[in-house]
């Protein structure tokens, strides 16, 4: 067991080292002042107890979390909310709950957002009309008068990958709805992932990669290497705020076939990597052992180190819920609770 863990740690270290050659740490496009904790105040992340999807519960958590995490100024701006709608099952919580996104829309309007748009490009089920209807997003958009954009079929434009050493994706096609956004808010689901270990805010951005160019299930990203693709997409499309739906997450063989796991929290913050690292800790995962989080740290997309994160709200130890990990990922498990 420990041998496996060491092997995995060694592999992650090797991957992070390799990232330095495939993804130079010094390129400026990747860096933002607010993502650099060194010599600066720590990255604020809020961990909010949230027992259910009742509007009052969600509104309070979002208001408290937003206020505590140096959020972006959204006044008068065009805000794109990117939920995770990987697929739909009536039996499994695959997608970001539409009630959370509804509460977030109301919150953003309340703090002055000019226009709020909900946009998603589901990864392998091409039937977006059916997915939006089944997951409740079609109804939500109609009731609130919010545009609901299928990013797989949006107008697209090629932009230069922020990684100057990118090979397969040197020019990255992206949807206009994403490129024209003033603020992108990633609203992911707290889930395990059979290829990546866990899927949170950073991995959620695979959904902005358009199917009309890259197909379904966006296989080019897999052939490019999942950790590298996650980092390239996130370095090119910068999320300004992240919310992870951990009210009910998914454990085991996620992100589609896992089982529901109630964690009763929202994780929020303006740095995706810090949010994901905290969400990983909620799941009982050591973020430094997750390939793509380690790579994101190496290229300075933020920080996953506890000492760089200013955690507010609940105590991690009080909400930690060790999720069952997918086969082959047991080495991601963090040290047991003291």
């Amino acid at each position: 067991m420990s041998g496996a863990a060491l092997t995995r740690r060694a592999a992650v270290r090797a991957l992070a080292a390799a990232a330095a050659s495939t993804f130079p740490v010094t390129f400026s496009a990747c860096r933002r002042e607010e993502d650099r904790p060194t010599g600066k105040p720590a990255l604020p992340v809020a961990l909010l107890p949230c027992a259910d999807y009742e509007p009052v519960t969600l509104a309070k958590a979002l208001t408290d979390g937003w206020a505590a995490t140096a959020p972006p100024d959204v006044r008068g701006k065009r805000v794109v909310i990117k939920p995770n709608i990987a697929d739909f099952s009536p039996d499994r919580p695959i997608h970001t709950d539409a009630r959370l996104v509804e509460a977030l829309i109301l919150h953003l309007r309340g703090v002055g957002a000019g226009e709020v748009i909900v946009a998603e490009g589901p990864p392998h089920n091409r039937d977006t009309e059916w997915l939006f209807r089944q997951t409740g997003y079609e109804d939500l958009a109609r009731r609130l008068g919010v545009p609901l954009v299928d990013l797989n079929h949006d107008d697209v434009r090629a932009v230069r990958n922020a990684n100057p050493r990118a090979k397969a994706l040197r020019d990255l096609y992206l949807p206009e709805s994403v490129l024209s956004a003033d603020v992108i808010v990633s609203v992911a689901k707290l889930k395990t992932h059979r290829f990546a270990g866990i899927t949170l805010s950073l991995k959620n951005l695979f959904g902005v990669v358009p199917g009309i160019k890259y197909g379904w299930p966006k296989n080019v990203l897999h052939w490019n290497g999942i950790p590298l693709s996650i980092c390239e997409v996130n370095a090119t499309v910068r999320t300004r705020y992240s919310v992870v739906d951990g009210v009910v997450g998914m454990e085991g063989y996620g992100p589609i076939l896992g089982t529901a796991r109630r964690a009763g929290v929202l994780v929020m913050g303006s740095n995706s990597l810090a949010v994901d690292a905290t969400a990983a800790r909620v799941m009982g995962v050591d973020p430094a052992r997750v390939d793509y989080l380690a790579m994101a740290q190496t290229i300075e997309l933020g920080s996953l180190r506890s000492e760089d994160i200013l955690l507010t709200g609940a105590k991690l130890a009080d909400v930690r819920a060790d999720f069952v990990l997918p086969p082959g990922f047991s080495a991601l498990r963090a040290a047991p609770r003291k």
Binding site: N125, R126, E129, W130, H222, Y253
Partner: protein, 305 residues
């Protein structure tokens, strides 16, 4: 009723042609090869020539030196949208261009040759499909999936490629191999670790249409079980595009009787006042084809020899 629906659908298509001759997925959006190709097929049956010429010029502007076609003129690579261009070239009598693009499609590589024997064996164990079977991917050089394989099969047969061509026979093998064992298809992963993945109406309709285009018999288990799945699924919530492809798929097979589903009537009822379907030009064109004459895309059962 149906004639009027088709007339109004074609009116919607004509009203939203872009100045470059092509169509986007929605009115006012940038022209792309897939909606342009299907709009041209829909208009071709109406004897349309003016819009057709400009549309063909748009498709030609998307061609690459390699013979491939991208998603739009700026795309430097070949794309899965070539299937729609083949259909349009064929429908409008540009048979040399249809053939050249068909040749590129027949030579298009998927990832089947990139997998090692160990990887093929591991995929077979975990996902229960044969990754060594060649099909068609969405983007050249990546993994083959059910839907692009079906789309290319439909277009190649329409362009005159024999179902006996080795590449098409391999496409049939892939579709049969990737089916969900309890019936139907999803995007191409029938199984994962210890669980069967669910089929979906859209993928199933496309796979059945692809097999139907290639003359695969209704007597085969994959088709029978797929039709059974689709009949059941059509009783529930189904999208516009899945209804349209289902209408096309069912036209390939000689099913009669009260249990035969009728997605076409349900599809017709979804038409909006201005003639479009979901304000989507691709879906409107596909619906117009299905409502008027599915034989413009596939060999329908009534016309089989």
């Amino acid at each position: 009723m149906s004639k009027d629906a088709v007339r109004r659908a074609l009116g919607f298509i004509r009203a939203h042609r872009n100045p470059d001759g092509g169509w986007g997925y929605r009115p006012g959006r940038r022209s792309l090869v897939e909606p342009t190709g299907l709009c041209l097929v829909a208009l071709a049956a109406d004897g349309e020539r003016t819009d057709a010429r400009a549309g063909l010029d748009f498709l030609r502007s998307c061609r690459k030196n390699s013979g491939a076609i991208g998603i739009d003129p700026s795309d430097p690579e070949g794309s899965w949208m070539a299937y729609a261009a083949i259909l349009a070239f064929d429908a409008l009598g540009a048979s040399d261009e249809a053939r050249r693009l068909a040749e590129w499609t027949l030579a298009m590589e998927d990832a089947s040759g990139r997998f090692t024997a160990d990887e093929v064996s591991s995929i077979a164990m975990t996902y229960r499909y044969d990754a060594a079977i060649r099909g068609w991917p969405w983007t050249p050089g990546t993994t083959a999936w059910v839907e692009p394989t079906a789309l290319f099969m439909i277009s190649l047969v329409k362009a005159g490629i024999s179902p006996e061509h080795e590449r098409l026979k391999s496409g049939v093998r892939l579709l049969v191999d990737r089916r969900v064992r309890s019936g139907g298809w999803n995007f191409g992963n029938p199984f994962s670790q210890s669980q069967e993945l669910e089929a979906s109406p859209l993928s199933t309709a496309l796979a059945l249409a692809g097999l139907g285009a290639a003359g695969y018999s209704v007597e085969r288990a994959a088709v029978r079980e797929g039709l059974r799945y689709l009949s059941g699924a059509l009783g529930g919530d189904v999208s516009t595009v899945a209804l349209a492809w289902s209408g096309l798929a069912l036209s390939c097979y000689p099913l009669e009787g009260p249990e035969r589903p009728d997605p076409v009537a349900r599809l017709a009822a979804l038409q909006a006042g201005e003639g479009g379907f979901r304000d989507n030009l691709f879906e409107t064109a596909l619906a117009a084809i299905v409502l008027s004459d599915p034989a413009r895309l596939v060999l329908t059962a009534g016309r089989a020899g």
